[in-house]
Symmetry: C2
Subunit: 389 residues, 2 copies
C-alpha cells in the first residue's frame, strides 16, 4: 500500500504450557498479558485495543464473549475488545489483524493474546470439540477426527512420495529434543526413534508420538509501530510481513491433500511483502499439530522440495544444528498446543530467539524467523516473518 508504516513486537509474555487443573482460562490469559505489558514497559492505559485469539473457549469452558471478559480485568476497560476465531490459527489471525491495524495507523498499540483451556474436559470431549473445526456435516459425521484426517494425509504422502514412518518419527524426536530445552514446554522428555516408532497407534500410520498435546496456556504480544517501540526503549522485533489465507474446510473438497494451498498462498504473500524468499529465513516455528503437518509445511514454505519434507527432516536439516532449524521451542508436539494460544506463542518464540533471549535453546543464527499457524486440515493459515529492528 505504500502508506503502511513499520510495525514491531514491543513485548511478549506467556504462561508455561501444560495441564493446570487449578487455573481457569482467564487467569492464564491475564498472566500472559501482564508479563507482556511488563516486558514492553507499557501500562494498560496505553493500550488502544485488545485482540483475542481463541478457538473454542465456549465449548471447553462454557464462557463466551471472552474478549471483554479478559480485557476489562486486564485493566483495558473501554477499548475495542474482539475475539478472532480461525480454528487453531485463531491467535495467528488476531496477530495478522493487529499488525495490519497498526501498520495502517488505525491503532498505536494493540495487546494481542491467545488462550485455550483444554484439560478440564476428558480426551473424548476434546477430540469432539476439535473436530468442530472440520466439516461436521460431512467428514466428521462420517466418523473422522483430526488424527484420522491427518492420518489420511500422511498415508497419501507416503504413497505419493515414499515418506516413511521413520521420517515422521524423526520430526517427533527432534521436537521432543528441542522441547527438553524449553522450561515452559508441556512435555520435557527426550525420546528415541525406536520409542516413536513403537508408540501406541492413534490413527494408522500416526502414533501417540506423531500427535501434538492437549494443553492449557496463554501467550501475548504487544504490537505497536516501530517508532513507538523505539520510544519505549525496549528490545523490540520488527514484523517484516504477515499474511492470512483460507481454503475449503472439508478435506474431500481438495484436489490434493498432500499440500495446503492456504499455506502456499499465505507464504507467497508474506515472502513478497517482506521482499524475501525461503532462503532468507534463518529458523521457523511450524504448526506441527501432527508430524506430517510439519513435513508438508516445510514443503509448502519452500524449505524442502515438494515430496522431500520427510527425507529433509530425517537428514537433520530442521534440527537445531541443521540448515533451517524448525520448532526450536519444541513445537506443538512438545511445547504443547493450547490451540487458541499457539499462533501468538509462535510469535513469542520468534521474538525470544531474535532478541537472543532463548536461553538453553537459543539458536546460533536467529536474525529472521518465520511462523506458520494452521487451522483445521488447512482451511486457515497465517504466515508471519519477523526480524531484527
Amino acid at each position: 500500500m505504500g502508506r503502511m508504516r513499520p510495525v514491531a513486537v514491543a513485548g511478549y509474555g506467556k504462561t508455561a504450557f501444560g495441564a493446570f487443573p487449578d487455573r481457569d482460562l482467564r487467569s492464564l490469559a491475564l498472566e500472559a498479558c501482564a508479563r507482556c505489558l511488563q516486558d514492553a514497559r507499557v501500562e494498560p492505559a496505553q493500550v488502544d485495543a485488545f485482540y483475542l485469539g481463541n478457538f473454542a473457549g465456549p465449548s471447553f469452558t462454557g464462557q463466551n464473549h471472552l474478549a471483554p471478559y479478559i480485557a476489562a480485568e486486564a485493566g483495558l476497560s473501554g477499548v475495542p475488545a474482539t475475539r478472532f476465531e480461525a480454528a487453531c490459527a485463531s491467535s495467528g489471525s488476531a496477530f495478522y489483524h493487529a499488525v495490519n491495524a497498526v501498520a495502517a495507523g488505525v491503532h498505536e498499540a494493540i495487546l494481542v493474546c491467545g488462550v485455550e483451556k483444554m484439560t478440564s474436559r476428558d480426551t473424548a470431549s476434546v477430540t469432539e470439540i476439535l473436530a468442530s473445526a472440520g466439516d461436521t456435516a460431512g467428514e466428521i459425521r462420517a466418523g473422522s477426527t483430526f488424527p484420522s484426517l491427518f492420518a489420511m494425509i500422511a498415508r497419501r504422502h507416503m504413497h505419493q512420495f515414499g515418506t516413511t514412518r521413520e521420517h515422521l518419527a524423526a520430526v517427533a524426536v527432534k521436537n521432543h529434543e528441542n522441547g527438553a530445552l524449553n522450561p515452559e514446554a508441556h512435555l520435557r522428555k527426550r525420546i528415541t526413534i525406536e520409542q516413536a516408532l513403537a508408540g501406541k497407534p492413534v490413527a494408522d500410520p500416526l502414533t501417540l508420538f506423531d500427535c501434538s498435546l492437549i494443553s492449557d496456556g496463554a501467550a501475548a504480544v504487544l504490537v505497536t509501530s516501530a517508532d513507538r517501540a523505539r520510544d519505549l526503549g525496549v528490545k523490540a522485533v520488527r514484523v517484516r510481513a504477515v499474511a492470512q489465507a483460507s481454503d475449503y474446510v472439508a478435506l474431500d473438497r481438495k484436489d490434493d491433500i498432500t499440500t495446503f494451498p492456504a499455506v502456499r498462498a499465505a507464504a507467497n504473500h508474506a515472502y513478497r511483502a517482506a521482499g524475501m524468499e525461503s532462503g532468507h529465513i534463518d529458523f521457523a516455528e511450524l504448526h506441527d499439530c501432527f508430524t506430517i503437518a510439519e513435513i508438508i509445511a516445510s514443503e509448502d514454505l519452500g524449505f524442502a522440495a515438494r515430496g522431500e519434507g520427510g527425507r529433509w527432516a530425517a537428514a537433520g536439516c530442521s534440527s537445531r544444528e541443521g540448515a533451517k532449524p524448525v520448532n526450536p521451542s519444541g513445537g506443538l508436539k512438545s511445547k504443547g498446543h493450547p490451540v487458541g494460544a499457539t499462533g501468538v506463542a509462535q510469535i513469542c518464540e520468534l521474538t525470544a530467539q531474535i532478541r537472543g533471549e532463548a536461553g538453553e535453546r537459543q539458536l546460533r543464527r536467529h536474525a529472521v524467523g518465520l511462523a506458520e499457524n494452521l487451522g483445521g486440515s488447512g482451511a486457515s493459515c497465517v504466515v508471519s516473518i519477523l526480524g531484527a529492528m
Copy 2:
C-alpha cells in the same frame, strides 16, 4: 489519522429472519452473501477478504471454523477469512474491523456477513447458550439469564427514574407496528399496549413482549472504498464513522446498571469521527434485545435525556412519525434477533432507508442513520453512522 480514505457500503443482502427448520447455518449465510454481491454488482473473485460475525455457531450447530467454511463455498476461496465474536455485537464488530481495514487501504473490498442459526435448539438450551455471554462463573452460576439481568436493569431504571411498565410496552408496540411493515421480519403482528402489559411474565417486570425473538437468519454488506463504489456504478452509502468499545462482562462489576459506558464511549467516538452530534441523526436502529435496552440506548446516544428514555418513547418521539424514528425495521423485537446477524442486519436497514428502498416502511427523513449493536449486558458495543454519498 488523516490518511484514512472514505468508505462505502456498496451493496447489501439478507435472508428473511424467522424459524427455518429446513435451512442450515451455511445456506443462510450463502444466500445473504449472494444477494449482497448481486446488489453490489461484484463477482466473488473481486472480494479480497471475508469477515464473519457469529456469536455461538459452534454451540448452536456444532460447526466451528465458520469463516472459511462459508467463504470457500461462496467462491471466495483463498482470501483471509476470519470470524469475529463479540457476543450479540459480533457482526457489528466484523463491520467495524472491515471499515477500518478498507479505510486504511489494507483491503479494497470486504464481504462482511453475520449469521446465526438458533431455532434448532430448544428454548432452554438457547437461553443457556446466550447466557455464556454473561459471567458464567458469577452472575450466571448464581442463576441469572439475560432476561433476568435485563429485568434487574429495568427494575433499577424504574426505581431511579420513574420508568413504568407502560413505557416499556410502548417500545414493544412501536417495534411490532414497524415490523408489520417489513416483509422480512420474523413476527409481523401488531399489538396493543393492553396486550403488551398483559404478556406472559418472563422475568419481572419484563413480559414476553419485552423480549426479542429467537431467530435464524443472515445478513451481508460489501464494504469498499468510496472511489471503488462509484466505479461500480451502484447506489452506495457512505460510512461516516464506526466505533467499538468494551466494558466489564459481569453486571456486578458496574457502578451503575442504568447506563452502558461502552455505548457512550462508542457513540462519543463515532459522533466525533463523523463530526456530528445526536441532533444530526435522522433515524436509528437500536439494539432492543429487551425493551429496556432500547430505552437506555436512546439515552446513552443522546436522543433522550438521562432517565427520560421511557417517557421519550411513550410520547411517540421514536415512532415512524416522531422526531427520531427508532427501529423502522421492527428491531430485534419484531424483525427478529439471530444474534450474530443482527449487527450487519442493522447496517442493511440503514442502507435500505438511506437509498430510499425500504418500501412500505420507508421513512420520510432518511439522510443519516445510526446503528447501535450491543453485546451481553453492555460489555461490547459498536456504533455506526451511515449517510448519503
